[in-house]
């Protein structure tokens, strides 16, 4: 029996005018649990105003290479109802973290059709990878001010906010040489 909890992809929004970005994944029992652990893991110190989670199984993803090798077939689900899909796109290999950014929404009858629309609609930058998510599968953190204050505001006052700060706290052993240690070394 597989005892692992399902995997959830986590999207973090740094400020109100930036897109939600995929920052990593968590294992959790349910969407609310995933949001709670995601907040602890990805927003304890880094800046954030909102988080989304979605089950990894609910993401339809294709890389540029996959699309070149095997174009997506959209003929299968003509009879299904239109539903909104959320589109995420990766456009750069430069960042140390593999950000996949929110770019917008499309309305389609299947993830394949949503991907086709996304490729036609979001053409400003070449996409290295697409993630297509049914909008109703995304679970979002509460947008109220009280939650933003409770979940994200305390991060501003934490020490060690960024890795580069680590070296500035504490000091090297050589600065604390005492007579006794000098004798030990002699």
């Amino acid at each position: 029996m597989d005892t692992q909890w399902p995997r959830w992809e986590v999207f973090k929004q740094d400020t109100p005018h930036k897109p939600h970005q995929a920052v990593g994944s968590v294992h959790a029992a349910d969407p609310q649990h995933a949001l709670l652990t995601a907040r602890n893991i990805f927003a304890r110190r880094p800046q954030a105003v909102s988080m989304w989670v979605v089950r990894a199984d609910d993401i339809f993803s294709r890389t540029k290479e996959e699309l070149a090798a095997d174009p997506v077939n959209m003929e299968s689900e003509k009879t299904a109802a239109l539903r909104p899909y959320v589109v995420f796109r990766k456009t750069s290999h430069r960042r140390s973290m593999t950000f996949v950014d929110y770019v917008g929404e499309v309305s389609a009858r299947s993830p394949e059709e949503a991907l086709k629309q996304a490729r036609a609609k979001f053409t400003d930058v070449e996409a290295l990878a697409w993630w297509i998510v049914p909008a109703d599968r995304l679970t979002k953190s509460d947008p109220s001010n009280e939650t933003i204050e409770s979940w994200f505001a305390p991060a501003k006052e934490k020490t060690y906010k960024q890795q580069q700060y680590y070296a500035t706290v504490g000091s090297h052993v050589s600065k604390h040489k005492t007579g006794r240690e000098d004798t030990d070394e002699a």
Binding site: W5, L36, T37, N40, S150
Partner: protein
């Protein structure tokens, strides 16, 4: 500030800080041993937050008597600590730890909500600051109580056992510290009687909605913070050993 008010405030701030120090250290014992990596990290976060709250309360005490927070945390013996016994109990299983954290988070959140209106401005400011994090802690442990209570037969049984053990201990959180009535009369701290009524209402509702039975016999209810469980000596021995061994600890 009148002498007896000041003494009462020092006693209250010490109790608040000591609860946070001991609970924080208990939770830190899960680091590397959590049931899943995500929860291991989450509980380590909560432990650090509680220690941060202790620093805030010790800081307010320092303004009154010039005491050094590190001295209070690392160089006081068990007999001088004013922690509640609930927080001293060994961490037990995950259900035990989550239930204790829930009972404490709920008490702390309700107390802080009321303490925001303290007539002693430094305390009102501190309550406002701490409350933000505490609301998140409570959401986390609230969720865990629900999931364990309504999860499997085994998770429900473990949580029920934890509840029967802790329920009486938890009542000590509502026993006033020496001179606290003076502080309440001055509007400096909330009346614990009112906080307890809210706590009983909210905790009973959530525990029962999570498939648990409230204990009929509340069991042992500690009353004085000068008395401690035998566990306080061993937790302090571990927590204080490094500081007492190398008081400067400049090199790491």
């Amino acid at each position: 500030m009148r002498h007896e008010i000041k003494q009462a405030l020092i006693a209250k701030l010490t109790a608040l800080a000591d609860d946070e120090v001991i609970l924080s250290h208990r939770n830190s014992e899960w680091t590397g041993h959590g049931p899943i990596l995500e929860e291991d990290i989450a509980l380590a976060n909560i432990a650090q937050d509680e220690l941060g709250h202790a620093t805030v309360w010790f800081g307010l005490r320092k303004e009154l008597d010039g005491s050094d927070p590190d001295q209070l945390a690392f160089f006081r013996d068990a007999g001088e600590y004013r922690s509640a016994e609930l927080l001293e109990l060994p961490k037990g299983d995950w259900a035990f730890t989550m239930l204790r954290q829930f009972l404490f988070d709920l008490y702390e959140t309700l107390w802080l909500e009321a303490a925001k209106h303290s007539s002693y401005q430094p305390l009102a400011d501190a309550a406002n600051k701490i409350l933000r994090e505490e609301r998140f802690h409570l959401q986390h442990t609230y969720a865990w109580v629900e999931r364990l209570g309504l999860g499997t037969e085994e998770s429900n049984r473990r949580l029920q056992e934890a509840l029967e053990f802790q329920w009486g201990y938890a009542q000590q959180l509502f026993v006033p510290t020496p001179g606290e009535d003076l502080l309440v009369a001055e509007g400096m701290v909330p009346d614990l009687g009112a906080i307890k009524a809210q706590w009983l209402e909210h905790s009973s509702k959530h525990l029962q909605n999570s498939g648990l039975k409230l204990p009929i016999n509340p069991g042992y209810q500690p009353t004085s913070r000068t008395h401690h469980t035998e566990h306080l000596w061993s937790i302090l021995a571990e927590m204080q050993s490094t500081a007492r061994w190398d008081t400067e600890a400049k090199v790491w």
